[in-house]
């Protein structure tokens, strides 16, 4: 018997106001693997992430998180499972009335039972902020930060409780190329140093290219071409078209696709 997948969709369908947002979608992401979800705006990428955490309920099909079916269980029973997952929202979704430190420490402080001692929380918050190279922003409010810094704080908040799966919703959307590269470096750093499963929703093929072909280098703090490229990589690509899987496979298979939608999309994103 195989180990349970970190995340698995089986025939998942979701309808919003008579429109198919997700159409009979099935895929599996094993522990430690990376999944890059590509698609044009409105293709269902963000909806897929929200379904993965049980923030939305599917109309049909099953979703398994760490082997446990989440599609039919109550919100209260989902909360412990969600604590094993980190999520970076598209617009960061930081709590704007809380400081950076309070935002990052939120998952530690707001947990059932007795929260850790304040000094333990502070140490772990500082550790997470050091990870995203933003310790200097400890006392700042989100409104005082740039878009890229907010995205880094959101990554810090998503990883502070050592999740086994991190979901990134367009982590580089709206950022300049240099800041986008910094963010992707952090995504790879978390994947390669903590061994977490990563699901990255993006409309930029470059981000998928980085995940499939590069590794984080602790010595230089940058990225190095990885030893596993293309078909050998543990990175899979899912291309969504109107909520349906238009493609599922590795980078080399993606490059060989002749489907007009996939070709057009890949070429478009490569130029952008």
């Amino acid at each position: 018997m195989n180990d349970p997948a970190a995340l698995e969709f089986s025939g998942v369908t979701l309808i919003f106001d008579d429109v198919l947002a997700i159409d009979n979608l099935s895929f599996r992401v094993d522990a430690g693997d990376s999944l890059v979800v590509l698609g044009v705006a409105g293709s269902g990428k963000s909806v897929l992430l929200k379904l993965s955490m049980g923030l939305l309920k599917p109309d049909a099909g099953q979703i398994y998180l760490f082997g446990e079916q989440i599609s039919g269980i109550a919100e209260a029973d989902l909360l412990p499972l969600r604590r094993r997952v980190g999520m970076v929202f598209q617009e960061s979704a930081l709590f704007d009335s809380l400081s950076v430190a309070e935002n990052v420490g939120y998952p530690l402080v707001n947990q059932p039972g007795k929260p850790p001692a304040p000094e333990v929380v502070e140490e772990r918050v500082r550790e997470a902020l050091r990870f995203v190279e933003l310790e200097a922003a400890f006392d700042k409010l989100p409104s005082e930060l740039s878009g890229g810094m907010r995205r880094r704080v959101a990554i810090g908040r998503a990883i502070v409780h050592d999740p086994r799966l991190v979901l990134y919703d367009s982590p580089t959307a709206g950022l300049d190329p240099i800041t986008a590269h910094t963010i992707m470096t952090l995504v790879l750093k978390e994947r390669d140093t903590a061994g977490v499963t990563s699901v990255v929703v993006t409309h930029r093929l470059q981000n998928g290219h980085l995940l499939a072909n590069f590794q984080y280098d602790p010595a230089s703090g940058g990225l190095l071409a990885g030893e596993h490229n293309g078909a050998g990589s543990r990175t899979r690509f899912l291309v969504l078209e109107k909520g349906r899987a238009a493609f599922w496979g590795d980078q080399q298979e993606l490059a060989r696709q002749q489907d007009p939608y996939i070709c057009k999309f890949v070429m478009k994103t490569e130029r952008s």
Binding site: L55, E75, R83, M87, A93, D96, Y106, N110, P112
Partner: protein
């Protein structure tokens, strides 16, 4: 029609969960205290001002009417009965709806449209427990207290007018104010803010968490919260008064 039924169903579900959470942990006591400060202490100035001038204007109007029957001495009775049974609870609740239902709807609405509520759920926190229940508890505790303050300040406002303008003696005013109030009047006057507190908090929170459509949606939710809460307060006021008066 389908949309209205769905809205009522969602409102009832949210209300049920918020009320159930009052008896089920975890409790966010720090948030409850913060909300009590914002809702209770923060509303004190408008409640005091509204209460004082309501009592003052009631005394002026009542004394004018009562003088035609030669019963100006009963001004205190009319002011205290009107304020304790009706105007104190209703005006306080309407002020609270204008200030706090709107505040809750806009705050939670802004959180909803910027995905902060989804983020809260994603971080393993139940937003109803963290956001709605503390606001509900804080409103239920503070609103009857604010109503008592408003009633007292209103009766004092009536006294100021009666003493300085109508030339009633202090003893005459206070004795007539106090003597006619019985347990049923006070019970009615305290039942109303207790019930209205649920309306103020739950309508404000429901409009907030169900906000869609960006900043325009936040504005719409805020307006809807005040309108819906005010209408519900007036409607429930009639039902409660009917229950106490009987017949």
């Amino acid at each position: 029609m389908k949309k209205i039924v769905l809205t009522v169903q969602e409102f009832m579900l949210l209300s049920g969960r918020a009320i159930t959470n009052l008896f089920r942990g975890p409790h966010y006591w720090a948030d409850v205290m913060l909300q009590m400060d914002i809702i209770g202490i923060g509303s004190l100035p408008i409640v005091v001002l509204t209460g004082f001038f309501s009592g003052a204007v009631l005394a002026l109007q009542m004394s004018d009417t009562l003088s035609t029957f030669g019963a100006t001495a009963q001004t205190g009775t009319m002011v205290s009965l009107s304020l304790v049974k009706e105007m104190g609870p209703v005006l306080t609740s309407l002020m609270m709806a204008g200030r706090n239902s709107a505040g809750m709807a806009s705050e939670l609405g802004s959180m909803a449209v910027t995905e902060q509520i989804d983020a809260m759920r994603a971080l393993g926190t139940d937003p109803v427990k963290k956001l709605v229940t503390p606001r509900l508890l804080a409103t239920v505790v503070t609103m009857p207290l604010l109503t008592i303050i408003s009633d007292f300040v209103g009766i004092f406002g009536g006294f100021v007018v009666s003493f300085f303008f109508i030339k009633l003696s202090a003893a005459q005013y206070w004795a007539s104010s106090y003597r006619k109030l019985d347990f049923g009047d006070v019970a009615e006057g305290l039942t109303k803010p207790f019930v209205f507190a649920f309306v103020v908090a739950l309508v404000g929170c429901y409009c907030g968490v169900s906000t869609r459509g960006g900043t325009q949606g936040v504005g719409r939710s805020t307006t809807q919260a005040v309108v819906a809460a005010s209408i519900l307060i007036i409607f429930l006021d009639f039902l409660i008064a009917k229950a106490f008066v009987g017949g």
